[in-house]
């Protein structure tokens, strides 16, 4: 094209010079620390899949973390460090483990003192391993694979449950609910998505259920994504399980629920484990479908004042109070407590402080924190149920805010 020709007539050297200059400028721009604000701030890197199929959970995670950071700063920051303020350093993993790991390198050079992430276990694994090289404290806000805490890395921590404990909790809760109703349910059918999340959880749940006398008569694995659940619904209909247990992501979770209704599949309860689509939005937008559906998941304690306040604030901000919000909030609190007790940002000291944390989170149905190999043993997943447009905790009984409607009405 004439235009480029005119621009570059016989000036290859000039172009190379120009390009190198631009390149150098860009590189210089990149190396200048992005956040040149308060010196002495405690920087916490947040790595989440802000672009890509998991953009919504990422936005919720960022929101929760930033809320926590603002709250802690408003309350005086890290007092043992002279009131040092917390500061978020945002990173986008773009749903890819390699980008997540690269973000860790970037953040390390930006001088972060801790990192939180990553929603996807695969990214979390790569990122926390990268962080381990520099001993940066790494808190998993959401990430259910147990491999995250089984690698013997002394810098990796997780406040919420992994699928091992969640599977166990789910089975205990189901047995409890079943027993309270006179044990009408004997059989379970699991519908899970095909990747590690669904497959791993399904395996563990099947084992755990057996020890409670509940038999898994059908396990249906489905693709990610699945466009159409008609056949699965029909298969379930002919298998006639008492309980249907979905373990999948939001889009498929909702489609399955709708299809089960359309095909008039009869069952005592839909009891999902880590149901991606079970949240206030679902209950709000599809009350008929959601009514009496049960999920076992990370959930806040609705009886706590701080939990109610957080929910009110989140909804006032026009957002749904999904588990990502308070899991991220809790994770920041955990990190902040580590800095507070360590009295400095020295990585060794902070990791030690985190490992010995006994933090009690008021808005979560947890016991005091107790870290064993990086996993918080005080955590628990609770069974929640949609009842008349709201969500109640129905098990375990010491945290229940309402009794279970089981079998569903």
């Amino acid at each position: 094209m004439t235009r480029s020709k005119d621009l570059f007539t016989g000036s290859r050297r000039k172009f190379i010079r120009g390009a190198s200059a631009t390149f150098a400028l860009a590189a210089a721009g990149l190396s200048a620390p992005k956040i040149a604000r308060a010196a002495g701030a405690v920087k916490i890197g947040l790595i989440h899949p802000a672009t890509g199929w998991a953009a919504y959970p990422a936005a919720q995670l960022r929101y929760g973390a930033q809320m926590a950071i603002a709250d802690i700063n408003a309350a005086g920051g890290i007092k043992s460090m002279g009131g040092a303020a917390l500061e978020a350093v945002l990173g986008d993993s773009q749903t890819k483990p390699e980008i997540g790991a690269a973000e860790v390198e970037k953040m390390n050079e930006a001088g972060v003192h801790a990192i939180q992430g990553c929603y996807q276990s695969a990214v979390g694994l790569a990122a926390s391993a990268a962080a381990a090289k520099y001993n940066i404290p790494f808190s998993v806000d959401v990430g259910v694979s147990d491999k995250l805490v089984q690698r013997g890395l002394s810098n990796v921590f997780r406040m919420a449950d992994g699928y091992g404990r969640i599977a166990a909790d789910a089975s205990v809760n189901l047995a409890e609910i079943n027993k309270a109703a006179g044990s009408p349910a004997k059989t379970v059918a699991i519908v899970h998505e095909e990747s590690e999340f669904g497959t791993g959880t399904a395996k563990l749940v099947t084992k755990a259920l057996a020890s409670h006398g509940l038999e898994v008569i059908e396990t249906i694995k489905h693709a990610n994504p699945t466009r159409n659940f008609d056949n699965i619904a029909l298969r379930l209909k002919s298998a006639k399980p008492d309980i249907i247990m979905p373990i999948n992501y939001p889009g498929e979770y909702i489609l399955l629920a709708k299809t089960l209704r359309q095909q008039r599949v009869d069952f005592m309860a839909s009891y999902s484990v880590l149901g991606g689509g079970f949240n206030f939005k679902f209950v709000d937008e599809m009350p008929q479908i959601a009514e009496n559906m049960i999920d076992v998941n990370h959930w806040y304690d609705p009886r706590s004042t701080s939990g109610q306040e957080m929910r009110a604030r989140t909804e006032a901000d026009g957002k749904y109070f999904t588990f990502e919000v308070y899991c991220a909030y809790m994770s920041i609190m955990f990190l902040a407590d580590g800095f507070e007790r360590a009295g400095s940002t020295d990585k060794e000291a902070v990791n030690a402080a985190l490992a010995s944390s006994t933090l009690d989170i008021d808005f979560m149905p947890y016991g005091p924190t107790k870290m064993v190999d990086g996993q918080n043993m005080g955590s628990r997943a609770v069974a929640i149920q949609a009842q008349k447009g709201d969500v109640q905790i129905i098990a375990p009984s010491d945290y229940a805010s309402a009794s279970a409607v089981f079998p569903r009405s």
Binding site: F8, G10, S31, E98, A102, A129, K133, E193, A223, N224
Partner: protein
């Protein structure tokens, strides 16, 4: 100094700079970015061999990468064979897959978009299979243990992977340079320009295209091992999703089809644009919109790719600028 010698000197200097970069660049992040740039350029070059030189566009390039990754990983996990040997098997498997796909496709006379689409179909087929078969770990994927050491092709610091990817890049450039000078390369170009005429001239087009796709496959296989050993986790989406196939053709076309440095230039520019956009724009999505706009801009004004900035007409002798 002759043009050839001048180019050789430039090339040697560039290589020296690249080789010494880790000494000058203390930032591990930048080394990592460069590693990714080299990796993309390498795998882009593999696409370029078949797509740029031979003119056969493929949308399924990721299948060689994924197959290589699974090959060396399964050899490691199930048979304990260290990746330093496994990578060669990965190369062979990639080449073999290339042969299979190529034979089925080219023998049926598939060209143009038909060929591109069938490669996509093969990649999808492999993805579904990988999801359902036990020895690939199914949907769960394969986790590799962290065990740095040369025999595992794992390195503690990014510098190790930097040199690994630089090494791969140099090999890819060498292959392309060889193509430009060899009879085989000329045959590929002839096929690209006019396959019937090439056939009429006595070129065995089937054999040439098969060799080209086998080279692409072999190169892809090595890339898979590289990735597996660096990030220690692979699953069907990582190994067989279309994203990498698109990136391969993207850097080649943007950089310059059928040129030695096209994929490298394309990789550098696109990565830099992406990084800079992300650096200055925090809001998710916005930086990618800018990226998309710049991409369209580049293609609209440089229809021959960025390499076109360096030469006005192909084959015209450069006089080193005026």
């Amino acid at each position: 100094m002759t043009l050839k010698a001048k180019n050789a000197l430039l090339f040697g200097l560039a290589f020296l700079v690249a080789a010494l970069a880790p000494v000058g660049i203390s930032s591990k992040f930048y080394l990592d970015v460069l590693t990714l740039i080299f990796f993309t350029a390498y795998i882009g070059q593999s696409w370029n061999i078949l797509g740029g030189y031979a003119g056969q566009f493929s949308f399924g390039g990721v299948m060689f990468f994924g197959t290589g990754a699974y090959t060396s990983s399964i050899l490691l996990i199930t048979f304990g064979i260290p990746p330093i040997f496994g990578i060669f098997v990965a190369v062979l498997m990639g080449a073999f897959l290339g042969f299979l796909v190529g034979y089925l496709s080219f023998r049926s006379g598939l060209r143009g978009s038909y060929f591109a689409l069938i490669t996509l179909a093969f990649a999808e087929l492999l993805r579904v299979l990988a999801n359902s078969v036990e020895f690939t770990g199914g949907g769960v994927g394969l986790f590799l243990t962290y065990a740095p050491g040369l025999k595992n092709l794992q390195f503690v610091s990014p510098t190790g992977f930097y040199y690994f990817s630089l090494f791969l890049l140099v090999i890819s450039l060498a292959i392309a340079l060889w193509l430009e000078r060899s009879r085989f390369g000329a045959q590929l170009v002839a096929i690209r320009e006019n396959e019937e005429a090439a056939e009429a001239l006595g070129i065995d087009t089937l054999k040439c295209k098969l060799y080209a796709i086998m080279i692409m496959g072999g190169m892809g296989g090595a890339a898979g091992t590289f990735y597996a050993q660096k990030y220690l986790y692979i699953d069907p989406p990582i190994s067989y999703s279309i994203a990498l196939s698109v990136e391969m053709l993207l850097v080649s076309i943007v950089g310059g089809l059928g040129t030695v440095f096209g994929p490298l230039i394309g990789s550098i520019v696109l990565h830099v644009v992406n990084e800079v956009a992300r650096h200055f724009i925090d809001t998710p999505g916005l930086s990618l919109i800018v990226y998309g706009v710049i991409l369209i801009f580049i293609i609209s004004y440089l229809p021959n790719g960025l390499v076109g900035l360096f030469r006005k007409t192909r084959g015209k002798k450069e006089d080193g600028g005026a």
